[in-house]
């Protein structure tokens, strides 16, 4: 049985977005990049870029409210879908890491440690109900919020959108356009080396970019608290774990470390990128994508 994997669909959507933007850049269609993407009069502006500019220019920038509101509307509808379905960084990570989800955010070591600690403590806990060790885990996962705060403060202090200068999404399109300029305008530049190098450093050396660094993801998470559509929920009557087995397929599949069985156990549901890995992997088809909260 050949089944189209949702992961491949995500690779496809992210690739289409990149192609459209490249086409727009090459054929002078003026779509812009993800920083501010627009076709005709409809445009979407990066909410992080917007906040940084507001702080940098000390101006409320009403001209951008509509296009930022559109983005917020989409987040209310679909949560952090951008991270799994559009972001080229997730695509790069997925393609070059060669395995796992497109946004394989979950640190390997983190997972292993948790497993070891689980096993170690299982003998001490006779009824088999365990608690993961506290040790400030949750605060470490807040680091991207700290970086978001730092980026906003920095923009305010130094008067320019600071994170935009190192944003891997910007670097990605900057690299593509540098290649474009080389091919179509015969203008080689240092960017051809520099942008991909910095991008590679951010994605492959700082391995947990999406999970612990990306301030855009952090901002999307914050806005996603308003998200009320397409939330994965467990149907208790079908879920094997709810019936007492040791199943955790959905937990292991989730790149964000969300535990659908227990809201307070893993990452909060607002971190859900709607990647649908849990939905696809659940052997009992017990995960429903609730249209409404």
């Amino acid at each position: 049985m050949s089944k189209i994997k949702i992961r491949m669909v995500r690779v496809l959507t992210a690739s289409i977005v990149i192609l459209v933007i490249l086409l727009g850049g090459t054929c002078k269609l003026g779509y812009g990049t993800i920083c501010s993407f627009g076709v005709w009069r409809i445009s979407f502006t990066c909410p992080l870029g917007f906040l940084q500019m507001v702080l940098a220019s000390r101006n409320l920038l009403p001209q951008l409210w509509l296009s930022v509101a559109l983005v917020v509307l989409f987040i209310i509808l679909l949560g952090r879908f951008f991270c799994a379905w559009i972001c080229p960084v997730a695509l790069l990570r997925g393609v070059f890491s060669g395995k796992g989800a497109v946004n394989s955010n979950r640190g390997k070591r983190e997972g292993k440690e948790a497993t070891i600690q689980l096993r170690a403590s299982s003998s001490a806990n006779p009824n088999g109900l365990l608690e993961l060790p506290p040790k400030g885990t949750v605060w470490a996962s807040y680091s991207r919020y700290a970086i978001l705060g730092g980026a906003l403060l920095s923009s305010f202090l130094f008067g320019f959108p600071v994170f935009c200068a190192v944003c891997p999404i910007g670097l990605f399109f900057g690299s593509l356009f540098a290649v474009n300029r080389l091919l179509f305008a015969k203008q080689p530049s240092l960017e051809l080396l520099l942008f991909p190098a910095l991008l590679g450093f951010e994605i492959f050396v700082l391995k947990s970019w999406c999970r612990s660094i990306c301030p855009l993801g952090a901002l999307l998470s914050i806005i996603s608290t308003l998200n009320c559509f397409v939330r994965p929920t467990i149907q208790k009557d079908l879920c094997l774990a709810s019936q007492g087995t040791h199943y955790r397929v959905c937990n292991e599949a989730c790149p964000e470390g969300i535990d659908l069985h227990n809201d307070s156990a893993g990452s909060p549901l607002k971190d859900c990128t709607k990647c649908l890995e849990c939905y696809e992997k659940c052997p009992a088809r017990a995960i429903r994508l609730a249209i409404l909260r």
């Binding site: 002078k28 269609l29 003026g30 779509y31 812009g32 990049t33 920083c35 501010s36 627009g38 502006t45 870029g49 500019m53 940098a56 220019s57 920038l61 001209q63 951008l64 299982s122 109900l129 365990l130 608690e131 993961l132 506290p134 040790k135 400030g136 885990t137 949750v138 605060w139 680091s143 919020y145 700290a146 970086i147 705060g149 730092g150 403060l153 920095s154 923009s155 202090l157 130094f158 320019f160 600071v162 935009c164 900057g174 356009f177 305008a185 530049s189 240092l190 960017e191 094997l240 007492g244 040791h246 199943y247 955790r248 535990d259 227990n262 307070s264 156990a265 893993g266 052997p283 009992a284």
Partner: protein, 221 residues
Amino acid sequence: MLRRIESLARNNREPVVLGTAFNSSLTRRAFLALVGQAAAVVGLGGFIRCLGRKDGFLRPPGALTEGEFFSLCIKCQKCQEVCPTGVIIPVLVTEGAASVGTPKLNFLLGYCNLCMRCIEVCPTGALQPTKKEAVRLGVAGIDKERCVAWTWTGCTQCQQVCPLGAIVLDNSQRPTVDASKCNGCGLCEYICPSPSLRSYTSTVGKGIVVVPLGAERPRES
């Protein structure tokens, strides 16, 4: 299907996790780590700023003053994409690390025909709607060591193309720029044939060059 589920259940010996996995007690160490990360990003902004926000780029029409422009441009590349003459290109790393990706005009590649499409697409207002007559991108100046008419004779290309009549010929048929009429559209620089006419000499560069307002004009004595 059911059999597969059963076999999976047998193999999966992981204990059920209930209760809170995360304890939200904030240790001092974790707090300092968070503060450190935020501070590092603030430092990054300072570092980029120290690399220098070089002023004196030729910006597209309607650009705000350099400081305001710097705070509003998100480097989305839209202006560059829509420019019909291809005169708008991003600032390169080698020209100013802090300004990388912001748009500038390169009159070797094109000129500004004041179509104002860049202003229309600018999402942030870094390029403000401006009347065509009010646009002042820069001002042209003649490099007398490179200009064919000044070093030799005969060329009046720039004078012929200038749409504003800002280039006038002196008694010896050599071009001079009337700075009060020039809006810096760059057509003169774009068509100046000096580099190709002189490609066999050591001379490089255009005989007429547009420079930002307030910047020093070329060796025009």
